[in-house]
Subunit: 325 residues, 2 copies
């Protein structure tokens, strides 16, 4: 397999249409990114070469924290500043997700009618860690298509989902007052990845307590991180009353300036690329095993079924076989 | 690297102690499974060869559905039948997780004092899909140590977490009445993996509605699955009132009988092994890249930073380099 095959003429045309921001082409290229088949890689590589301009903002929070509502409010505000917005929703609770069971949920029709906004929902439940690879390829498509800001919305539970949002330049973690104990416990696991804390539902009386708790937590220092010139803000918002959204946007923009001026942007890009390269390598190997080595894999499964070999030993033998082919 | 190195004498002793069910040895072997370093693989392969007897039961549900409470009630009931129970909690909201923030949550002291029960909490947030590989290795340790039933508790959100619970022989999905819309939407994504539905908090008046909804959903047929002789039951429980736990246990035991008699157990084991072998292969490759090819990986990251190569292309080149070494 040649490492850099020439892009097929049809693919070159599609890439050009993506770069021109044609919605139909963007959607098609995203479907290819999701499928991730080898024949589409050169087109996606071309997309990657044209990406790198967008500010990628991750927004996460536990179920019930009001992520989608905030994404909507933030998007409307960004549009007022003249910026275009791509949204990647990797969140089973997102109202963008649609589907029969979610049919009665609120749709974001005021966003989807706007050509300066593009929304893509990523299905979870694909194969074996491919979600991170595919989601970040989809972010590239929006970036290359010229969207100024790309918002990644993920639910703040699940290793893949947290990995994806960590790949953003700026991570906003949303907390809400009055959630149950189980939810609070889950929330604790994502607080440390925040560049910015937002608190939703601040029209409620108990929101002050949530804001104070976050500030108290931050005063203890950021666990596992060195000193930084960035002071993590805690921003009270109320999407209903449309308060705090402007503050949040200023914090997001301020964080980008900080990243660029401090050189931290390069560090983040490097960390992000390491994750993406490793995820891609895992993805490639798994495809080669399930496609090119189908029979050998089946034989190894039988060997493991009778406990003649363990799964790790089977994987090692298959990788050896692959090297010899 | 030889494919099947001889087990070091110290490791043989540790494996023997695990097989004898010595708690300290079990805990040490689990730590090795979590670390997953190459030198421990032969001991873990030996563990795998001795596993295969336990009934592995996965229990999942959205945050707030009461998973840990049900795991506790089920464990106490299993103990009354004389069976020993290993518990693997891959759930940030689990009270077993401990930690400062969770310090005030209820501890399962009535379980942890019982030598017939072994509880292990798996930390999420490790590297790149390694969670599934490590969790299932830990299940093997409990299995080889002779626990009759191994319960895997995961939160029903997140691709890795759902993949792990799907690897169980019998999957129980727990629903609760009166959760918010966001939670309900997430719940929809895991209903289809249930072999058994349990409904918690059935002392509440609105629990009947949850039970009826699940039954109505089941009457529509199981999406994406062929006909099966197993009728998925919906079991109302109340851990507080200790009702329904015996019914749930009967359903779990009944499902095992069904799996064995129908030949479906072999199919599940095969599917599970394919997932484990592929996850291990991805894990091995990522370790080799970050360890053996550290400098080449760093060079590729720089290349991707300047957009001379895309992450997938970088991964392909690194895999080629690896083959040549």
């Amino acid at each position: 397999m040649p490492v850099t095959p020439r892009t097929a003429p049809a693919d070159s045309k599609l890439v050009k249409e993506v770069l021109d921001g044609i919605p139909r082409a963007i959607a098609r290229m995203m479907s290819r990114a999701e499928a991730g088949t080898e024949k589409d890689r050169e087109a996606l590589a071309e997309i990657y070469r044209h990406a790198g301009r967008a500010h990628v903002v991750g927004l996460t929070g536990v179920p019930g924290s009001g992520k989608s509502t905030l994404v909507r409010a933030l998007t409307l505000r960004l549009r007022k500043t003249g910026r275009t917005v791509g949204i990647v929703a990797v969140d089973p609770s997102s109202p963008y997700s649609g589907g029969a069971i979610l049919g009665d949920r609120v749709r974001m029709s005021d966003l989807t009618g706007d050509p300066g906004v593009f929304i893509r929902t990523m299905a979870t439940g694909g194969a074996l860690g491919g979600l991170a690879r595919a989601s970040l390829d989809v972010v590239d498509v929006l970036d290359a298509a010229g969207f100024d800001v790309v918002l990644i919305e993920t639910v703040g539970v699940g290793q893949d989902e947290v990995d994806i949002v960590k790949a953003a330049h700026t991570v906003v973690v949303l907390s809400a007052p009055g959630l149950g104990d189980d939810i609070q416990a889950i929330k604790a696991g994502i607080l440390e990845i925040a560049d910015i804390h937002a608190v939703s539902k601040c029209d409620r009386a108990d929101a002050d307590k949530t804001v104070s708790e976050l500030k108290a937590l931050l005063s203890l220092g950021r666990p596992g991180k060195g000193p930084s010139d960035w002071t993590i803000p805690v921003i009270p918002t109320s999407a209903e009353q449309e308060t705090g959204i402007e503050d949040l946007l200023q914090a997001i923009d301020g964080h980008r300036v900080f990243l660029e001026q401090s050189g931290e942007m390069e560090n983040r890009r490097r960390q992000n690329l390491e994750l993406r390269i490793l995820a891609s390598a895992g993805d490639i190997i798994q495809r080669q095993l399930t496609e090119g080595l189908r029979d050998d894999l089946a034989a190894m499964i039988e060997g493991a079924l009778t406990r003649d070999v363990d799964p790790h030993g089977a994987a090692t033998k298959l990788l050896d076989l692959m090297r010899k082919k």
